[in-house]
């Protein structure tokens, strides 16, 4: 340290800026402060898959003389409507989990995550029921194909959200894994769930209402 003017206070300040791992720590550490930012980048990419599919759907709609093509049975609105309500309200439920963890209330997190997961599962069951009772199949016509691909791809995202919540629940069994200071997993699962929700709202408007 010859000639260095860095005093210990500055060193600590520097260390908190993420340069603490000069020697011992490994490259394995992801930058904790930037994970949420990275997650938003991921959502940008995800949005563009859906936007691409939406744009394709809208183009098919625009260039096909009759939409939906002749002979496509009317879509029932009641069940998907209820399903939408379940999914949208689950977004408010999962937000309670974030409030809880800010108070260091892990039990609260477990409760709200379990409820959200149950609502998500209910949504998937509802969608499965709808699939089973629709009068058109995947290959019936262009509308049917795009309908199943879009809702199915979204359903896949819901299922992945359930996995995320499951893994948060599993990890929360360990004392002190989540706390007000360390809650990335909870926040990430919540943000993802909101994202999946917003996509569903767009999808619902596009497929059922327009």
């Amino acid at each position: 340290m010859q000639g260095s003017t860095v005093n210990s206070e500055q060193t600590i300040a520097v260390a908190q800026n993420g340069y603490s791992d000069g020697h011992g720590a490994s490259h394995l550490e992801d930058h904790p402060d930037h994970r949420i930012f990275g997650l938003y980048m991921f959502f940008v990419a995800e949005s563009f898959i859906f936007l691409g599919l939406f744009a394709a759907y809208l183009t098919f709609r625009a260039v096909t003389p009759e939409w939906p093509p002749e002979g496509t049975p009317e879509l029932e609105l009641l069940l998907p409507g209820i399903n939408s309500l379940i999914l949208i309200s689950s977004s408010f439920v999962i937000h309670k989990a974030e409030d809880a963890i800010k108070e260091n209330d892990v039990k609260g997190v477990q409760l709200w995550f379990a409820i959200t997961a149950a609502m998500g599962a209910l949504f998937l069951v509802g969608q499965g029921y709808e699939y089973a009772h629709l009068e058109f199949g995947l290959t019936t016509n262009l509308f049917a194909s795009t309908f199943y691909v879009l809702t199915g791809f979204h359903g896949l995202h819901v299922a992945f959200g359930l996995l995320l919540m499951g893994s948060v629940l599993w990890r929360s069994r360990q004392e002190g894994h989540y706390s007000a200071e360390s809650r990335f997993g909870i926040e990430a699962a919540e943000l993802y769930w909101h994202f999946v929700d917003v996509i569903w709202i767009l999808l619902f408007i596009l497929l059922y209402l327009l």
């Binding site: 993420g18 020697h23 563009f48």
Partner: protein, 560 residues
């Protein structure tokens, strides 16, 4: 803040690579420098494979008849050649290799924002590549409908080959997206204190622009491929006109990625060229802000010109007009870069080493590709030369004369930093001459072939084109041979070349403040910028040491 003066390290103090260190390149290592080299070596291997496929294509085209391979195999050869070169060589080498290796060093941080994600992104490349190559060994053969994979053609060839192609591109695309998330987060969040956007090295700007393109456009390709795989496997007809679908929608989705992909492949190279030219001209870069912002302009314009690939796909006239003008406008930011580069080397004390030769080769070859790009952007001309060899000539001037020349320049420039050894200049120059001659012999005559109406993607052709095709094929053989001196040179010098000093080129960017190769954790403390990245020969600095100063001390390196 007072600075500790750094004494240049003497030879014995340089960190010695412990024995068995090479093994780390075969592991799930999270050091961005290891990952960068993993990307570079892996993608170069695929470059050689793609080159072998191209040589196969040229062997077939050396004569007008179908004699070397069958028509079906010929289709597979050019399809996989393009896919390998794009998804397994230029994209991973430009963004993956140099992005990963250089960004943290240039920005003055210890690693990428998400090192584990980074390693995951790399380790998707080898399986994706092996998967793609494996399709040659199945009964129906590899995908054979061109790298564009347009339906309904792509639904009519062998299903397994096409499915493998889709899966492999999805895997490689995902890897690319994960990389972009990392690059953007690192550039936005992890610059060393004191480095603002407007004084970061131009490579970082270029990677910023390229990463935005990856993030926005690659997912749309994924969407298209998901729909295509339903058509292929589940019997839907989303893109199949015989079942009421619309193949043009696939073309729109495909080119919404694949046109920006051109910029994903060229922007990182624009970045490295902007680093290389000032160093070897000993002059400040001309028009820093113009080069920086023109990258963003290219990135934005690149997203709204895709349908110029579809002028003959029944695109309405008013839409063709829009895409024609928007495409031509891209020549403006690109021209800004080219003129800035020329002004940078103008009157400089040029060092004509291999890196600089390839960089200057890049500028001149890329300009030819850029000019023919403006030509094919105009609708009447494009309708005439669409799907002819003129397009093949154009794209190779952009992607080979541009990206590959630029990648070679970057490899020669940073070879001492990456390996800690100097590369042999004589063999580098031989490599340059062979590449330049082979490249122009192979692709320049194709402009003429295209104007005369020779269609691309067909194994046999009219005998009147025979002589010119033979010349092209000879050029391609020279190109194939040109990789040998490079390969031997690189391997021999990596193993036993002359030891490289920390700053062999007297560069001012931060990577040259570190030893060659840099220590595992780069900077022990955030480096303090003493100069701008391109302040070569600037008056204020006269008399001071012509080196940037970091707070790196010999003791820090040795204890690592």
């Amino acid at each position: 803040m007072a600075q500790t003066q750094v004494r240049p390290l003497v030879e014995d103090e340089l960190p010695q690579e412990p024995k068995g260190e090479w093994k780390k390149y075969f592991t799930f290592n999270t050091d961005h420098k290891v990952i960068g080299i993993q990307y570079l070596v892996t993608s170069f291997i695929f470059f050689l494979i793609g080159g072998a496929l191209a040589t196969g294509v040229r062997l077939e085209l050396a004569t007008p008849e179908v004699d070397f391979v069958s028509r079906e195999l010929y289709n597979q050869l050019f399809t996989i050649h393009a896919t390998v070169m794009i998804f397994l060589w230029i994209v991973p080498a430009g963004t993956g290799a140099f992005g990963n290796y250089l960004l943290p060093l240039l920005l003055g941080c210890n690693d990428m924002a998400f090192p584990r994600l980074n390693a995951i992104a790399f380790w998707m490349i080898p399986p994706g590549g092996v998967l793609l190559m494996s399709s040659f060994f199945i009964n129906e053969g590899a995908a054979a409908s061109g790298w564009t994979s347009y339906p309904p053609l792509s639904l009519m060839n062998g299903k397994s080959g096409e499915l493998i192609w889709i899966l492999s591109v999805l895997v490689l695309g995902t890897s690319s997206i994960l990389g972009a998330i990392n690059f953007l987060t690192t550039i936005i969040k992890m610059r060393t204190p004191g480095m603002k956007f407007n004084n970061m090295p131009l490579f970082c700007w270029a990677m910023f622009a390229a990463s935005i393109l990856i993030l926005v456009s690659t997912p749309v390709l994924a969407g298209a491929l998901i729909l295509l795989s339903f058509d292929l496997l589940a019997g839907t007809s989303v893109f199949n006109p015989s079942g009421g679908g619309d193949p043009v929608v696939y073309q729109h989705m495909f080119w919404f990625y694949s046109h920006p992909a051109v910029y994903i492949m060229i922007l990182p190279v624009f970045g490295t060229i902007s680093e290389i030219l000032p160093v070897h001209s000993r002059k400040p870069i001309f028009g820093y802000l113009a080069i920086a912002y023109s990258s963003l302009a290219i990135s934005f314009l690149g997203l709204i010109v895709w349908a110029h690939h579809m002028f003959t796909s029944g695109t309405p006239a008013w839409l063709r007009m829009f895409f024609m003008i928007a495409t031509m406008v891209i020549a403006v930011p690109t021209g800004i870069k080219v003129f800035s580069w020329l002004a940078t080397i103008w009157g400089g004390k040029l060092r004509l080493n291999s890196a600089m030769l390839f960089a200057m080769g890049f500028v001149s070859m890329f300009v030819i590709g850029g000019l023919s790009g403006v030509m094919v952007a105009s609708v009447p001309f494009d309708i005439h030369v669409h799907d002819t060899y003129f397009v093949v000539a154009h794209l190779h001037y952009v992607l080979f004369g541009g990206s590959v020349f630029g990648l070679y320049a970057s490899i020669y420039h940073w070879f001492p930093k990456m390996t800690g050894r100097m590369i042999n200049e004589t063999w580098g120059r031989i490599h340059f001459v062979l590449t330049l001659v082979g490249f122009n012999l192979c692709f320049l005559p194709m402009h003429y072939l295209g104007l005369m109406g020779m269609p691309r993607r067909v194994a046999e052709y009219d005998p009147q084109f025979a002589t010119i095709n033979t010349i092209c094929s000879i050029g391609s053989y020279i190109l194939a041979v040109s990789t040998i001196p490079f390969l031997v040179n690189a391997v021999v010098c990596w193993r036993s070349g002359e030891k490289a000093p920390a700053n062999p080129w007297d560069g001012l960017t931060l990577e040259w403040t570190l030893s060659s190769p840099p220590p595992e954790h780069n900077f022990p403390t955030p480096p303090v910028l003493k100069t701008g990245p391109y302040d070569y020969g600037v008056r204020e600095r006269r008399g001071s040491k012509k080196r940037p100063i970091s707070k790196l001390r010999a003791s820090d390196i040795l204890s690592n």
